[in-house]
């Protein structure tokens, strides 16, 4: 076991940090906290670094750097409080590769943009897009969150109508599909300019060839997507902590630095502990994805749920440490806070993720007892 970052990973992180530091932030403290999709300033930084090609297979113009590189990209996007133009492209590339859709990979290489939507429905029942069989494909209806406000392709996760019966505990493989909806398809519309972005589908018909079940090898793509999102959340939490540490190191109250007061310093120390623990889970999961570890599905759930809860906890700690200044344009911490209202839940509620991990572990214990 060697947990020191590889020299390449450290170099990549530095390059991303320099590039993303120059990405323009959305001004103001109201409205969307970031610019997403094709308009995202982070997108051009990533393009300059060839990041969209990092994880693509070499046969499709990619660099095959693996998920350790993808997780590093995701973490640095979060740390810089940028939107995330990387995750949807990487998700669809993985799905296309797993489902043997080279045409989709070629489109991505040619610059097609993607928005992912409806991933919150992957952990349990609730509002989402439902699918029904229709002539020549499936028909989709419902309203879900999306990670951009426009794109060439909408990759929407949806479940079959009336499929949400019985227990979901312990289920990693679920009866859901990913539908690739080209821009211009009749029946869907982006809902206003609020954030998080939302998209409404009303009887959208998708060809059967563009419907990919979330099962078999495609589940590996889902696990990797969860790990990228976990890394993004980790980055948001890390960036927010850095903002709070910086501010409380400069701000003086009661004759000392704010963070030297235990009431402020100890919560920040706990934030550091949570960050380090979460970082271990995230990069272990990424390493498993690259190494082909059998524990990948559970590792991805653990990483995502832990990162989500770490961000939720740190959002409170950091805002409290920064006081009223944190609620104004004076400090960037407000941007992280506003992102934290939606990002921890985008790929499912943490409690639902934990239930899957817990049920799988209890089932394993039972299997072990029966075997012995």
């Amino acid at each position: 076991m060697d947990l020191r970052p590889d020299p390449f990973q450290a170099h990549l992180r530095r390059a991303l940090r320099v590039g993303l530091a120059g990405a323009a932030a959305r001004p103001g403290v109201r409205g969307a906290p970031v610019l997403d999709g094709p308009a995202s300033p982070a997108g051009s930084v990533l393009a300059e670094l060839s990041a969209p090609h990092f994880e693509l297979p070499s046969g499709h113009g990619g660099l095959e750097l693996g998920l350790m590189a993808g997780a590093t990209v995701s973490e640095e996007l979060g740390r810089a409080a940028c939107g995330n133009p990387y995750r949807a492209q990487a998700l669809v590339a993985d799905v296309a590769w797993s489902a043997n859709r080279p045409d989709v990979l070629d489109d991505l290489r040619a610059g097609a943009t993607v928005a992912a939507a409806g991933l919150e429905c992957l952990t349990g029942p609730g509002a989402g897009v439902t699918a029904e069989h229709a002539d020549g494909g499936i028909e989709l209806s419902g309203t879900v969150t999306a990670d951009a406000a426009s794109a060439d392709v909408l990759a929407v996760s949806c479940h079959w109508r009336d499929s949400w019966k019985g227990s979901w505990k312990g289920s990693v493989s679920q009866p859901v599909v990913l539908a690739l909806v080209p821009a211009g398809t009749a029946g869907y519309k982006w809902l206003g300019d609020g954030w998080p972005h939302a998209v409404q589908l009303s009887g959208v018909v998708v060809a059967q060839k563009d419907v990919i079940p979330w099962d078999g090898p495609v589940l590996g793509a889902l696990a990797k997507a969860r790990i990228r999102q976990a890394a993004y959340l980790l980055g948001l939490a890390a960036g927010m902590t850095e903002e709070a540490v910086r501010y409380t190191g400069a701000r003086r109250q009661f004759g000392s630095k704010l963070r030297d007061l235990q009431g402020v310093g100890f919560p920040l120390a706990r934030a550091v502990i949570s960050l380090r623990a979460t970082r271990m889970l995230v990069y272990r999961a990424a390493w498993l994805a690259d190494a082909g570890g059998a524990d990948l599905p559970t590792a991805s759930l653990e990483a995502l749920a832990a990162a989500a809860e770490t961000l939720i906890e740190i959002a409170r700690t950091a805002m409290q440490a920064c006081g009223g200044h944190g609620m104004t344009t004076e400090l960037a911490v407000h941007r992280y806070y506003r992102l934290a209202v939606a990002e921890p839940y985008r790929y499912g509620k943490p409690a639902e993720l934990w239930r899957q991990v817990g049920a799988a572990r209890l089932a394993r214990e039972l299997t072990g007892q029966k075997a012995s």
């Binding site: 973490e75 310093g265 960050l275 623990a277 832990a306 899957q356 572990r361 209890l362």
Partner: protein, 384 residues
């Protein structure tokens, strides 16, 4: 980054497991009494382990080890605890004092103390805490007055573990005053058979008592001073991060969690019948255990590479201690009345619950760890 153990490390682990499954080790383990007090049976077990080089194979050959890489010591610790070897003696003797001597001891001290420890012949207790001195070592009052070619130690030490079995103690005493409260502290390796030393138990809620040690002018020769007189605090600052890797507390947490799951598996033949809150708690603890294990190995890897990271050690120690305490408090409530009446697993969890307050106190409280991390916030991010 490499998050798995290498083939060589796994091979070493398999060899250790094989040794621990041998008939002599199993017989020595089976002879241990149910309580956690310690006695001749525990001494016999350590001799059996020492004969097989299972206590400190990562120490240099000249000091009783096999010269194996430092990180393999972590694998030995994991397998000893998983095999059921009571960990207190191994922790205080090998992991804390032995490792401390390796870092700060001179050649003569190492030759004198380490080989008998590695053979399982000698045990060492740590005597820092006093009735009015907890984490604040700068306030200790035990004095060591010069007397000929040595010192006479007078004072009282409390809350040590397994001290009735200790052949030596690592004792902190004040040999003088200085500019700060930390000046004038000196560390001694004290022969516990020295006249003037009285050891008496302090009953606790747990099945393992604390010990009180009264030093009444006990003579300690000068060659038992570690470093130079008055240098104790500086030495402690070097040594403490090495003992604070959190692996010991992670292993306690792992044992209590696994035992609780065993009880739950009996209660829920259908995992789907378990309530949502319980499943969430199990899921969270699974992930926290994994993180704790990795944080401990991050520290061990740093030490192997010659880089002792005080912040990483404090993070690992805090995380593992808090997790172990949290799991023990929960796990104590898991067994049903029928499981309690059967003893076995339930008894382990009952003792774990009673031990829990200690896991966030010993070897530096959680609050001390937070203080260390808070003091290093500027460089504590560790993302690259």
């Amino acid at each position: 980054m490499e998050f798995g153990f290498s083939a060589a490390e796994e091979e070493f682990r398999a060899r250790i497991r094989g040794e621990l499954r041998g008939p002599e080790v199993r017989a020595a383990l089976a002879d241990l009494p149910d309580d956690n007090v310690g006695g001749p049976e525990l001494r016999r077990l350590h001799l059996v382990l020492g004969e097989r080089n299972l206590l400190a194979p990562h120490w240099p050959v000249e000091y009783g080890g096999l010269g194996l890489p430092f990180n393999l010591g972590g694998i030995v610790t994991e397998e000893l605890v998983r095999a059921g070897v009571p960990e207190t003696l191994h922790i205080s003797t090998v992991q804390i004092v032995g490792q401390f001597l390796l870092v700060i001891g001179n050649h003569e001290h190492k030759l004198r103390h380490l080989p008998p420890i590695a053979r399982g012949e000698h045990f060492v207790s740590v005597l820092y805490t006093e009735p009015d001195t907890g984490c604040d070592i700068g306030s200790l009052t035990t004095v060591a007055e010069p007397d000929g070619d040595g010192f006479r130690l007078t004072g009282t030490k409390v809350f040590s573990l397994k001290t009735q079995m200790a052949d030596y103690s690592l004792t902190a005493a004040r040999t003088g005053e200085g500019d700060t409260r930390y000046a004038g502290i000196t560390l001694f390796m004290v022969d516990m058979t020295t006249p003037g030393i009285r050891v008496s138990p302090i009953p606790t809620i747990w099945d393992e008592p604390f010990y009180r040690v009264d030093l009444d002018g006990a003579f300690v020769p000068s060659d038992c001073v570690l470093g130079r007189p008055g240098e104790g605090w500086a030495l402690l600052s070097k040594g403490l991060p090495i003992e604070r890797n959190g692996l010991d507390y992670y292993l306690k947490a792992e044992r209590w969690f696994g035992t609780a799951l065993g009880c739950l598996a009996e209660q829920y033949p259908d995992p789907g019948a378990a309530d949502d809150g319980l499943l969430e708690l199990i899921g969270r603890n699974c992930a926290s255990l994994r993180a704790s294990h990795l944080l401990a190995w991050d520290v061990l890897g740093g030490i192997k590479a010659g880089k002792v990271d005080e912040t990483a050690a404090a993070v690992a120690r805090y995380h593992a201690g808090e997790l172990a305490g949290s799991i023990a408090r929960w796990a104590g409530s898991v067994p049903t009345a029928a499981q309690r009446s059967a003893g076995g697993q339930a008894a382990v969890l009952e003792e774990g619950y009673l031990e829990a307050p200690g896991v966030t106190l010993s070897a530096g409280t959680s609050e001390i760890m937070l203080q260390l991390i808070a003091a290093a916030l500027d460089r504590a991010g560790q993302e690259s």
